[in-house]
């Protein structure tokens, strides 16, 4: 029963990791950009949520309506103002600029909020649970998982069923020709980053309700998201969800063996999959 419990809890935790990963996967798919500051932006979103919910006395889930557009707007501005200038054949500029951004975000948060761990107060939601024949499911983890599934389904829909998604895929395929079709790639990239940070906002709020956070944990969130993307296979959103679940299960099962093994077990499973399936478990089928 312990094992089953660990696997179920790990699966639910995987939903959170999929939320970390989805935005990362999205911008890599559209513009081959890997955002090293991704984790720090998740933490930034958590702090934004914290401040908003305290200032307005709102439930942390309700502040999503403010934090999601705020982060999306920031993403658009960031992409058009800074990151677009780094894109090209050379991988160094985007990498180093987002790395610099990571340090800036982290230290700005440190300056404003200090290093003390904080947490969002979601009242009864945090402790509510349902009993399923000996298996206790927290309502919050289940909700997080459901939101992750919803977000991934939504992204999938945007990508394959809308004009915006068509533009994303066209620019990803061939920037020059997409430009000839009247797509301004600077704008399309801005929209992709906006969407990515909108997902980051959701991830940050759920992170902040679930656990305590401090400005230094961004790097760890980036790594979890990255591992989920690679395990699932680049460019496959549902694969990313599966990758998050595998990572989450590895961690909870590792923790069940020995609490010190939680993170290590996750990393080792990631390295194992990298060794035997370097393209991930579900690499993208289409072009």
């Amino acid at each position: 029963m312990d094992w089953l419990n660990a696997i179920v809890q790990g699966t639910l935790l995987g939903g959170l990791y999929a939320l970390f990963a989805a935005g990362l996967s999205l911008i890599f798919g559209v513009m081959r950009l890997v955002n090293i500051a991704h984790g720090d932006l998740i933490v930034l979103a958590a702090y934004l949520g914290l401040s908003t919910s305290i200032a307005l006395g709102m439930h942390p889930l309700l502040v999503l309506v403010a934090v999601v557009p705020a982060m999306a707007g920031m993403g658009y501005v960031l992409q058009r103002g800074v990151l677009n200038r780094t894109l090209g054949d050379d991988i160094l500029p985007p990498l180093l600029v987002t790395f610099g951004l990571s340090v800036i975000v982290q230290n700005a948060l440190l300056e404003i909020y200090t290093a003390d761990p904080r947490k969002m107060d979601a009242g009864g939601l945090e402790t509510a649970s349902v009993d399923l024949g000996g298996l206790t499911l927290g309502v919050l983890p289940v909700l997080t998982f459901a939101v992750a599934v919803g977000v991934i389904a939504g992204l999938q829909w945007v990508f394959y069923r809308t004009a915006l998604g068509r533009a994303f895929r066209a620019v990803s395929d061939n920037q020059d020709i997409a430009q000839i079709m009247g797509l301004n790639k600077a704008h399309v990239f801005g929209l992709a980053m906006a969407l990515s940070l909108a997902v980051v906002a959701v991830a940050g709020i759920f992170l902040g309700i679930r656990t305590s956070f401090d400005p230094s944990i961004g790097g760890g969130r980036l790594i979890f998201g990255f591992e989920a993307v690679i395990i699932g296979g680049l460019g496959n959103l549902w694969g990313t969800l599966a990758g998050g679940v595998i990572l989450g299960v590895a961690q909870t099962v590792g923790a069940a063996i020995d609490p010190g093994w939680q993170l290590l077990a996750g990393h080792l499973v990631f390295l194992l999959i990298l060794a035997i399936r370097p393209n991930g478990l579900f690499p993208r089928m289409d072009g």
Binding site: L95, G219, F226, W261, L264, L271
Partner: protein, 340 residues
Amino acid sequence: MSVTYDVTRSSQAARIAAGLGAVILLLLIAAPWWAGRAELRLIGEICLFLSLASLWNLMAGYAGLVSVGQQAYVGFGGYMLFALTIFGGLHPLAAIALAGVLGALVSVPVAALIFRLRGAYFAIGTWVMAEVFRLSFAQVSALGGGSGTSLPTDIVRSLAEGRAAREALAYWLALAASVLVVASVYLFLRSRRGLALTAIRDNELAAASLGIDIWRTKFVVYVVTSALTAMVGALIFLQKLRISPDAAFSVNDWTAFVIFIVVIGGIGTIEGPIIGTLLFFALRETLADLGTTYLLVLGSVAIVVMLKAPKGVWGLIRSRFDLELFPLGFRVRRTDQKGA
């Protein structure tokens, strides 16, 4: 009047720089006699950061291997110093050398794994490896687990009689490491393999068609860099005399700062890390009181440099004065001669 062309590697500036460098080196060797304790420590630290920066630059600026996980080898080297002296009974100097060998050995399987990741994903892969190292060493209770341990006094004493002598020795080792690293990077880049590396950086496709084995060349760079980084790591913790997983595998201390040094100084040049290290420490000594603000400034400066002057401060100087202090390329000089 006939025109002839001289092909030469050296230049006036390079010869002057070499002379000046020799004088500075002599002064630095004599530092224990003229510098105070704190200054000696600072210069030693500068030397160690210069070594880390030169090594990171070799990987990122020449081999195209952008790592944000070099703290893996800094920490590994540090822990090896402690483990080999405490459990192996080795003399610290032997332990430092062996840390290099072991660093090379562990880097082989690591490279085999993370070389499967491309570009930016490679970078995050190196970070994951560093995390694996950190979490693994935190599991070793004999080395203090998560809270770390100090180097026992008898081992510290075995290094040299008296604190002043020990500190001088640690300093000289740091100085020697930086000279060794900069010289090896320079000589390596001048070698056949090194020139191949520059060819790969400038055009991977063309280099492949010239029959340069790109994977192997990058692999060799990775292993050599790891070995030297592990030795520098051992030296860093010989200075500190105390180690813990968080300090040993700190991404900020051993990678973020190093990246800023190289970016600001000028990536892909030998001179860049030297200039960058000096600038970094100048900035640190003046802004250190500001705490996090200092890091905010550093991050912003790095971004601005990357966007506006991607070749860094040294790139600006070089484009203005056509200087090269460590001549790598050959230069063609036209000399006009009267008569035949």
